[in-house]
């Protein structure tokens, strides 16, 4: 039978302290669990770090990790269950991206943005040294 793989968008809310400590470990936690359910991670990055609008499990500061992965529709429930019982994951949301969303263009745009940011950071660094 043909597999019905789809792209999903996952947003994971992790305590900021946990991610700051070891970013790789936090990413590993997500990828390993996703891989267990035959989900292929296409994109993963920290989307933002911010203070929560309300306290979740006595945590106030959180890191948001945005993941795009390809998985079978049937395994989504299993993935969600796995993450619910995983420590250090405050919240998770798995949704199908909106119509018209294209992952490739998204990844391209994001990498462009990052390059620009890196450039800006370097420029400001140079100015600091000058002054």
């Amino acid at each position: 039978m043909e597999k019905s793989n789809r792209i999903y968008e996952g947003m994971f809310v992790l305590p900021q302290t946990f991610v700051r400590e070891d970013k790789e470990r936090a990413f590993e936690l997500l990828t390993s669990a996703l891989a267990k359910h035959d989900a292929e991670v296409k994109y993963m990055d920290i989307w933002s770090e911010r203070s929560l609008a309300y306290e979740i499990n006595h945590v106030r500061e959180a890191s948001y990790v945005l993941v795009y992965f390809e998985a079978e529709s049937e395994s989504i429930a299993k993935i969600e269950r796995t993450f619910r019982i995983t420590d250090n994951i405050l919240r998770l949301l798995v949704v199908r991206p909106e119509k018209g969303f294209e992952l490739d263009t998204f990844i391209k745009e994001e990498s462009l943005k990052k390059e620009e940011q890196a450039k800006l950071a370097e420029e400001t660094k140079g100015e600091e040294v000058k002054s």
């Binding site: 809310v13 609008a53 309300y54 909106e98 119509k99």
Partner: protein, 80 residues
Amino acid sequence: MKSGFGKRRRRLDPILKKKRVAFIDYKNVRLLTKYITPQGKMAGAKRTGLCTQNQRQLMVAIKRARFLGLLPYIGTTTKD
């Protein structure tokens, strides 16, 4: 002309065109905050001026954002 709710014909909110947003996303917190009161309630369609489809998108987006802790369920209750 002063904006009010009155009996005026519904004015369409041009956010989607003006801001060049393809759809109302839960990740677009800055946009969403415009449609909630300081208490954290969502604005009704009458106030937002959105069409039904967009208002529904907005509702879903706000609820998702709330769940993730991006937006408050209950905001600050200020007395003026």
